[in-house]
């Protein structure tokens, strides 16, 4: 090809630019998975938390810093939606915090990229290891190695209005324990009339339904994904049982018409008004509803056709790969799980303790509904997938569409076939 010197120089320049840009992006070598090692570094440490879970960590860090003035912990709050991306970039550029408190459902994104330190040896030495929320430990483990531990927990529960239960002739001491009993109770409460509805859920909120609708499926003896989270199992009879119960309640108008559009903004307010019989929510709502005068409510595990279940939400905490103050980091984790700190600092902020043997404490005794919630951490589950955000949290994701097609459009066959391809497409990317 004919090329003047100037053209050639331009070509060289372009090539140099491409090369430079590639090198600039090319610092992404994979860290090796290493064997459990001694933790080193006892200087002051840094901790990243996500914005939604900031208050408890503030209290914890303040208590730690009072007790450990020479190795204080500095906390940085990161917006929930940017946490994983920012954290990964920080670790890769060698700028990671010593401690990372990450959403339970996202911890697999970190462990599959080998970004956390193996703490199996330290965890095995804990006398209360068996009391830690098992689903939180399992999802933070890879091939028997533990990389993070439960840090701040919240479980999903079925809330029911005791006043409406009594009015409808139901026993407020015996909340529904099966899906049939739930639908039956919803019918009786709706029959009270006067704008009262038996049931409610946020029908246009992806994350809300990951948290509160999956347990109906689990409690019916099945799951929405296979064991290693690589394939959707939307034709599981348990999925049908849970969604058909919702469809029945929608078809029979046992829930307000507005649930179809609720994107989470009005998730809590319906039940708060005292006109809703039952709704599944996180244990965080106990303290909100407690403050509502005249609202007499109870909580119970979420029922299915074969028992009850619950979603374990919240955060796990781990030590970053290459943390400069890993020993301080571990000491903080161990300290935060100690009986005293769990019962005083953690429980006092209204949070659940991460150990079932500390569930019974002065704070939960004063609020028995929190005790019910706290005891559930032993059986609560987490969906196991590295694509949790894409599948379950994204408002344009396949899970929400699947629920809406089934419940509101009323076409289970279409919901399953569209859902399977939607899940497959997001899992494949």
């Amino acid at each position: 090809m004919y090329a003047t010197p100037r053209h050639r120089r331009l070509a060289v320049l372009a090539a140099a630019l491409v090369a430079a840009s590639l090198t600039a992006c090319g610092n992404t070598s994979t860290p090796e998975a290493s064997a459990p090692a001694q933790l080193t570094g006892s200087g002051p440490a840094t901790l990243w938390v996500r914005a939604a879970d900031e208050p408890m960590d503030k209290a914890l860090v303040a208590a730690w810093n009072d007790a450990n003035p020479t190795r204080k912990i500095t906390m940085l709050t990161v917006p929930d939606a940017q946490y994983v991306q920012k954290y990964v970039q920080a670790v890769r550029s060698g700028d990671a915090p010593d401690l990372a408190a990450v959403d339970i459902a996202n911890v697999k994104s970190l462990t599959t990229q080998h970004l956390l330190t193996d703490i199996t040896a330290q965890v095995d030495a804990l006398p209360y290891k068996a009391a830690l929320a098992p689903a939180g430990v399992d999802i933070s483990s890879v091939d028997g190695h533990v990389y993070a531990l439960p840090h701040q927990l919240d479980v999903s529960l079925l809330y029911y209005n005791k006043t409406l239960f009594t009015k409808a002739g139901l026993d407020p001491a015996k909340p529904p324990a099966t899906l049939d009993a739930l639908v039956d109770a919803a019918r009786k409460i709706t029959a009270l009339g006067n704008g009262t509805y038996g049931f409610s859920f946020a029908g246009n909120c992806a994350g809300c339904n990951a948290y509160t609708l999956l347990p109906y499926i689990w409690a019916s003896g099945g799951d929405i994904m296979n064991a290693d989270g690589t394939k959707a199992t939307l034709d599981d009879p348990a999925v049908a049982a849970a969604l058909n119960a919702h469809k029945t309640m929608w078809d029979e108008k046992l829930m307000p018409a507005a649930v179809k559009d609720d994107n989470g903004a009005t998730w809590l307010s319906g039940f708060q008004s005292g006109k809703i019989g039952m709704i599944a929510l996180g244990s965080f709502a106990v303290s909100i509803y407690k403050a509502q005068a005249g609202l007499d409510f109870g909580v119970t595990p979420i029922p299915g056709t074969k028992g009850t279940s619950s979603f374990l939400g919240g955060d796990v905490i781990g030590i970053s790969k290459g943390a400069k103050n890993a020993q301080t980091a571990w000491d903080f984790i161990a300290w935060s799980m100690s009986e005293d700190v769990q019962k005083t600092v953690v429980a006092k902020t209204g949070q659940l303790t991460v150990r079932s043997d500390t569930a019974d404490n002065p704070s939960t005794q004063a609020e028995p509904r929190l005790l019910t919630a706290n005891q559930l951490i032993a059986q609560a589950k987490v969906p196991v997938t590295a694509k949790y955000n894409s599948l379950f949290i994204d408002p344009t994701g396949p899970y929400l569409q699947f629920i809406r097609d089934w419940v509101f459009v009323g076409d289970p066959a279409k919901a399953v076939s569209n859902g399977q391809s939607g899940f497959a497409s997001r899992l494949g990317s």
Binding site: L17, L22, V84, Q113, S429
Partner: protein, 304 residues
């Protein structure tokens, strides 16, 4: 770079050559800027699109497989269809409203400065800010609009504009027109002011009415300006993101997902930078084709 430029022109001497060298030096910063913030990112994106490139981890070269996936991606083509529909509606609305406003404020009159300022003001607001304003104005619990509608008695019960496709799209279009029509108006207005008054005077002498003057003088002489407005609006609309991300979140039932939303989703929710890059390149090619067609049409008309 500076060195190579001077080396390349060393052979030529004289005042003219020196002026050229000086000119090159003057444009150099601009050239570097374009290279650095446009050419380079496009090249990097192009390279990325041939990789399975995770935001979190490794990358492997996969050749054309991202593009193969793109060709068969139903959601991408649906989304492109929706973006096209949105673009057609927004472009038509902007042209009509922009024309009306430009005609209203083209001549100097009392108070016209105030009107011009008022129309152009929304242009300086960011799309995210404007979207949040709209979201709150329309919010069923705290917004003014649903409250007003209920007080007037037009609606009963809940007002949720984003649960219906046409009302959701209407809200977005109205927002976009409100926010960007000022720029369209400015462009059309300056185009109109550039038309010599002699034409209108001659037409008046011939007894032409205002409608006839608009059709036979204003419109034909505004063609280059209309072409520019069209190109700007079409490109801007195909790149729409903020307003949908904040207002509709792709709903109801995933029917309002513009292409850039998919690009964002692939890159930052699915962490698949490779596929995200392939979609970006795809969209860029489509936009280049559309813009070329528009330029061709405008030019032929100019020549004829």
């Amino acid at each position: 770079m500076a060195l190579s430029v001077s080396a390349g022109t060393r052979r030529r001497r004289g005042p003219q050559a020196r002026r050229q060298r000086l000119g090159l030096l003057f444009v150099l910063p601009a050239v570097l800027l374009v290279l650095g913030i446009f050419v380079l990112p496009v090249i990097v994106t192009g390279v990325m699109s041939f990789y399975d490139w995770s935001l979190l981890g490794d990358r492997t070269f996969v050749g054309l497989s991202n593009y193969e996936r793109l060709a068969g991606d139903v959601q991408f083509w649906q989304s492109l269809g929706f973006t096209t529909l949105y673009t057609v509606i927004v472009t038509a609305a902007l042209l009509v409203v922009g024309f009306a406003l430009a005609l209203a404020v083209r001549n100097r009159r009392r108070g016209v400065g105030l009107l011009r300022t008022a129309y152009v003001m929304p242009v300086v607001i960011g799309f995210a800010t404007a979207s949040y304003l709209t979201l709150w104005l329309l919010d069923d619990r705290i917004g003014i609009v649903p409250d007003l509608l209920r007080r007037v008695g037009l609606v009963d019960g809940n007002v949720s504009v984003f649960s219906d496709f046409s009302s959701a799209l209407t809200v977005v279009v109205v927002l976009v027109v409100w926010k960007t029509v000022g720029l369209t108006m400015l462009l059309l207005m300056s185009g109109m002011q550039a038309i010599s008054k002699d034409f209108y005077e001659a037409a008046q002498v011939d007894g032409a009415r205002p409608a006839r003057m608009f059709r036979s003088i204003t419109l034909p002489l505004l063609r280059p300006t209309i072409g520019l407005v069209l190109i700007l609006t079409v490109i801007g609309s195909y790149l729409a993101f903020d307003q949908f991300f904040i207002l509709t979140q792709g709903g109801p039932d995933n029917r309002t997902i513009p292409v850039v939303y998919l690009i964002y989703r692939a890159g930052f929710i699915d962490f698949n930078l490779g596929y995200s890059a392939a979609m970006s390149i795809g969209l860029m090619v489509i936009l280049l084709i559309l813009t070329s067609i528009q330029l061709l049409i405008v030019r032929t008309r100019e020549d004829s």
